[in-house]
Amino acid sequence: MTAFRIPGKGRIDHARPVRFTFDGRVVEGRAGDTVASALLANGIHLMGRSFKYHRPRGAVTAGSEEPNALIRTARGRGRAEPNTRATMQEIHESLAAESQNRWPALAFDVGAINDGLYMLFSAGFYYKTFMWPRSFWDRVYEPLIRRAAGLGRAPTDPDPDLYASRNLHCDVLVVGGGPAGLAAALAAARTGAEVVLVDEQAEIGGTLLSEPHLVIDGQPAWDWLAAALAELGAMPNVRLMPRTTAIGYYHQNMVGLCQRLTDHLADPPADAPRERLWRVRAGQVVLAQGAIEKPLVFDGNDRPGVMLSGAAQTFLHRFGVRVGRRAVVVTTHDSAWHTAFDLAAAGVRIAAIVDLRPGVDGALTARAAALGIEGLTGHTVTDTRGRLRVSGVRVNPVADGRVGPGRIVPCDALLMCGGWTPSLHLFSHTRGTLAWDEASGAFLPDRKTEACQIAGAGRGLWGVAAALEDGAKAGAEAAAAIGRATAPGTFAVQGDRPGTGLVVRELPTDADPGRAKAFVDFQNDVTAKDIRLAVREGMRSIEHVKRYTTTGMATDQGKLSNINGLMIAADALDRPAPEVGLTTFRPPYTPTSFGALAGYRRDGHFEVTRKTPIDPWAEAQGAVFEPVALWRRARYFPRPGEDMDAAVARECRAVRTGVGMFDASTLGKIEVVGPDAVTFLERMYTNPWAKLGVGRCRYGLLLGEDGFIRDDGVIGRLAPDRFHVTTTTGGAARVLSVMEDYLQTEWPDLDVWLTSTSEQWAVVAVQGPKARALLAPFVQGLDLSEAAFPHMSVAECTVAGFPARLFRVSFTGELGFEVNVPARHGRALWETLWQAGQAHGIAAYGTEAMHLLRAEKGFIIVGQDTDGTVTPQDAGLSWAIGKAKPDFVGKRSLVRPDIVAPGRKQLVGLLTEDPDVVLEEGAQIVADPRQPVPMRMIGHVTSSYRSGALGRSIALALVEGGHGRMGETLHVPMPGKTHAVRVTGVTFYDPEGARLKGEEVPA
């Protein structure tokens, strides 16, 4: 047992020692300790260094609002987290904790030189210091800032932990398990309502855990608490959730909860999630989050050993830890007097209670006198002594606004209390408004926007009796609001400590306030003089003061500093605090791990990977895949020793000289059926459809109303009232949605049905001069000859025994077929054709070869050769527009002034002067490479390949006025060299289209 641990006291298990490491040193605590309480039990106050000045810091709180005691926690590879609050992390035998922001050691930190250079680091110093010379930015300032910036150190290994998420619906969600929350939960639960009670601490009870002297309804507080929890726990309609933080309050009573499941366990089950994110939809929400104690602002208020009085009380009663041997209390609120009395009773010598108020409740001063404690009312604190731990405090009398001479009071702990701030962060998330209450000197909830109740200290009611009564009332009101009326219970509380206090700005001092390091925001090292400087330099809005000084912008989000910062800013602005106002609280309430937010959606579950029926075959063949929209598609099929270029060249050669197979199953497919199907397509697509015969198909071009190309594909007519529409792989869902939109909202009179069939059909493209020779033996019920089934035909037939829709189409320029069979037969069809194709020297080809083959023919890929600003004219597709049609989607836009104006970017071909140079896709194009930089860019390369068939490189590009530049030489600057290119048409290979007929089937 250590000198600071009181045997038998607190809620920890004194019989169970727990060892962990802090900066490599083994520290022994007790089961139930936090890192902070265990360190304090060992007399260790120094837990970290501050962010800017690297000043030594210790725990200032005992809860989630802790700004100083931020540690790195780790347990093995990848399991590390920076900026863990030592006051929240429970200890266990596997825990390795490290202090942060220090080098080489916590007690001796080189960065602390910043503390001596504080004049350089005043408010807005980033804006002022790193302005000039400009050349210093890259080499000096940025590296310096990057090294110095940031709190802690993020792990670099992947996080091996699991994170879960769940949805939950309940009648009443109670946030906060203190007396108000417990009373609310009891009141609501006793009506039979489904109640969820969450509390961020390991143990539910809130302030009751720190006030064991209370007697509630004749029971000691902890017995009453145990009975209340037992009653709630036994009810099937109640869910108690400790270690669970309500991180955000969203629309329509949805509250996000983060439940910590394993960080407190030495040996968590391997399959247990570390955290679970809950999305709770509650009929009513009761906010019973209590209040957060405010620090006082005075020179040296940040030394280790200076902490909030309520924190000292919690360490004493919950953890059985004395925070020092000899303490001074400085306060403007009654509550700290009670802390002093409790500490004195536990054997801490209270050297003095310093209270700025000239007079306080006589009962308090009398009690202090009886305990032999010097009560210094009308006094201030003006300085502290000590380096790594407070060793003394300078105390001065204040009378009529004048600060008298000071004296040093030696101490090893200084406990401060500037009153209490209602915790209304979640309420503010709902855009509920706050109103300043002069009586309590706090912002209190005003106008509500959600179905919620606020209870207890959260609305400025001090004392456990008031909290219990108010909580019960809120619980009853919540229950009544969902139709379960009840009468709130009453409570008899003995030993309650309701108190009052005074809201102040910086404590008065006799020293030069310009030299004082009186901290407002501990974590961001913002002092009172920084805030006053910001106001002097012209910041008028509290939002500007916040951003200029960074007060309230640290990971604690101003939980301790906001009101102090406001009071000081209001004083400097000479305006009342409510007029200056608060900055907006936003979720999350406390720092939340990315793991919890990501949940299951990581790695393979980050998004869906769609696979075709033929995908397993491609995988077995060793295909290299690429993602296309959500699909994974075979990019190429390398043989041993082949790189991508070699594989693609071989695959293309097979298609151009023999036959190739391609898995086109990812094509979007929409079945358009109904008496008005043809009318519908006439209106949707640019092309004419009315005269398209049954058994024929046609290239279709889809625009937006703005006239720009949205999608394209082949559409086949299977019957007068039935069309098989194909779309781009990535555009399928979008096209169907657009079609539905027009059908439902613009033309509801049309009798048409739209059905997505993308995944119902597997599609095998067979392309090449030998395609017919390969396919014909497997086709039944259809004559494949050129005369009977010419290019752009479609028919229903049987292929290899499977019912099929057979298209005679070509995206390669060769004789080609696309065989659609029900998806379940896709792989069997593929393997049948693959086996038969061996005799023809067949090759499977992937998306890379497909792209190259179509580029040789100048076929566009929507989204690669177009970018949402390309019209049919720009793309050279005017032929696809039904000129006689009175209207189609986008038609009117094709005669808009800017669409018909000269100088639009148009799709052209580019041939490099050096045939071996393959341009970079995305490379910019200039007319004159000798013009000064920045050059005028007149277009960019959209597609670029090395063409085996042509024995040279080819490219497609969008170029200003490109259609009028045929034969011109333009220039493409690329890394190292600018390449000259000649503008050509887009069809590089077989411009006559002679190859579409392929070879006749040998008789």
């Binding site: 969203y250 629309h251 329509q252 949805m254 999305r279 939809r281 855009r431 926007t449 109303e705 703005d706 949605s737 539905e740 939109d741 027009y742 439902q744 909202t745 613009e746 509801p748 009175p886 209207d887 038609k891 009117r892 836009s893 808009r896 002034p897």
Partner: protein
Amino acid sequence: MLLIHCPYCDETLPEAEFAYAGEAHIARPADPMALSDEEWRDFLFIRSNPRGTHYERWRHVHGCGRFFNAVRDTVSDRFVTTYRAGEPRPDLSASTGAAR
């Protein structure tokens, strides 16, 4: 996450089931070619973007698939009401402002 009432399913369901689809009550002109460039520009691009009551389209994309109209307050993000496509703008004078 908002809860949205689908007027076709007659169910109030999470926002994740729905997709926003722009301002409502902007009908496609019957004969676009008869419009002046300015009129066509207004149809294409000009939207009311109000602070407050906004008539807008949503699609129950992961449900019935139907497009419908909604009235939403763009300041509070609260739905006032939803109604079927093709129905006229609802009379809001009797509305309590609460989502259905």
